[in-house]
Amino acid sequence: MVKIKTTNYNLFYGLKQALFDINMDIYKNKITAIIGPSGCGKSTLLRSFNRMNDLIDGVKAKGDIFIDDKSIYKDWDVVELRRKVGMVFQKPNPFPKSIFDNVIYGPRTSGIKDKRKLNDIMEKSLKQAALWDEVKDILRQSAMSLSGGQQQRLCIARAFAVKPEIILMDEATSSLDPISTAKIEELILELKKDYTIVVVTHSMQQAARMSDYTALLYLGKLIEYDKTEKIFTSPSNEITKNYVTGRFG
């Protein structure tokens, strides 16, 4: 079942075109990896799904993206869209608030005031992010006091707390140590049954280990998009073949 669908999607930073005619169906309850050399537009594409590119001056989009068959530009209210589509960033970016306040930030801003309900959401989200046991006694401490790996899992928990259906991960493990990375990868595989997950990664091993589908972007163009197995074993495009065998990038 298709969750996200892009149709002839183009994106411009001022005069510079960053994405060219992207046509892509992303499937529900699957992990989709977007790979490609740095600067190829993979983060830009990911940030298109929740319209984070809107924040950058001079960005213009052509074509459209549909989530649940509704256009993200015409049918979705951008705030509603971002609640539906959670995002985890490259660098852990907890707010300078307590762990508790970080997790319930989303539900609180959407107007939930009931203390018990907030507590439930917080506990459940932290458990989902496999962080509960480590922080359950220090919930009132500043999130800044956590380690990098813990901070990133906190950001994941924070994203869960708004009950999204899609989770976007923008090189979410690139700034972490191998142990934290393994933990988060494990977590992502676990989550697949409930969420649609799109990850951007520069690590081909990570893409191969985790994802069901893989897309290769090169110079803003979608070169090949297929089942991960196919991409890594018998790619049909020459560029893909060179890239996955490590001959460039």
Binding site: D57, V79, K91, P96, T109
Partner: protein, 284 residues
């Protein structure tokens, strides 16, 4: 080689002497005011109005007046300054117009305070008919520090990493929620520092209130915003430049200087301390 080392040593000594001269002068002033002013300070001095054509008695009305003027200026400048800074830093996109605007604000912060006094006289005292009053003085002082507060707040807001804003928006918070729940709280201590330094400045300003608010002698405390008030800096000025009782009132002058100085220095130290604390606990 020896000559070069000698030249370096000599120049470094000159530099160190320069620094010493400036710092020594600062402490000499503070010490001089303190030594001559401390004997005037008493409970009565701080809580009683002046008597005997201001040759005796206390400075209570001036303390109250300075306090009211400072609060008034803050009421004028802080909400407007913070909102303007939010708009400029969070809502405007770069470009020539904004650059010119920032340049304008920076230059407004450099306008002499006496010019603000003239402005306050023409607009608030005369045109709006507020007279020489707490209201006119607060408005004048408020606009005097407005550019400083805008600039300090904008700088504090721009110091907040873009990551925080993105994280908040990505969680489905609106822009306003993002500003009030994430950006402002994170920038708060730097904003407070800017405000405290401005209070120090407002409390010590004389020129802008000379013709907009300050009374030469008015022992009764203000009862409305349309009252003229005494103020510490103006009190010093009038006593020091009034020919007839200069010698006689010298202890009062020193005492008032000491009170004003203590007030201003306290504000500055509080501001600097908050900034220092925030910087130490900051992890982004």
């Amino acid at each position: 080689m020896n000559k070069r080392n000698f030249s370096q040593g000599l120049n470094f000594i000159i530099i160190k002497i320069s620094v010493f001269v400036v710092v020594a002068f600062l402490f000499f002033i503070i010490f001089h005011i303190f030594r001559n002013g401390i004997s005037s300070i008493s409970i009565d001095f701080l809580t009683k109005p002046p008597t005997d054509s201001m040759t005796r008695g206390g400075i209570f009305p001036a303390i109250v007046g300075t306090f009211c003027l400072s609060i008034g200026a803050l009421i004028v400048a802080v909400p407007m300054g913070i909102i303007s800074a939010i708009y400029l830093s969070e809502y405007t996109k770069g470009g020539l117009f904004l650059r010119i605007l920032r340049l304008g604000i920076r230059n407004l912060a450099g306008i002499p305070s006496i010019v603000f006094g003239l402005f306050g006289l023409a607009l608030f005292v005369i045109k709006f008919g507020f007279g020489s009053s707490l209201l006119s003085g607060s408005l004048t002082l408020g606009f005097l520090i407005l550019p400083t507060i805008i600039a300090a707040t904008e700088e504090a807001l721009r110091g907040i990493p873009q990551d925080f804003r993105e994280a908040s928006l990505a969680l489905g918070a609106t822009k306003v929620q993002t500003i009030f729940k994430v950006v402002l709280p994170a920038a708060l201590s730097n904003i407070v520092t800017g405000i405290l330094l401005s209070v120090g400045r407002v409390a010590g300003e004389t020129a802008p209130i000379m013709f907009t608010a300050a009374a030469f002698y008015k022992p009764a405390l203000p009862t409305s915003v349309f009252d003229e008030v005494m103020a510490l800096p103006y009190h010093i000025y009038t006593l020091a430049t009034e020919g007839t009782h200069f010698e006689q009132t010298l202890p009062i002058q020193y005492g008032t200087c000491l009170v004003l100085l203590a007030l201003v220095v306290l504000m500055d130290i509080a501001g600097i301390w908050i900034r220092l604390k925030a910087r130490k606990s900051k992890k982004w």
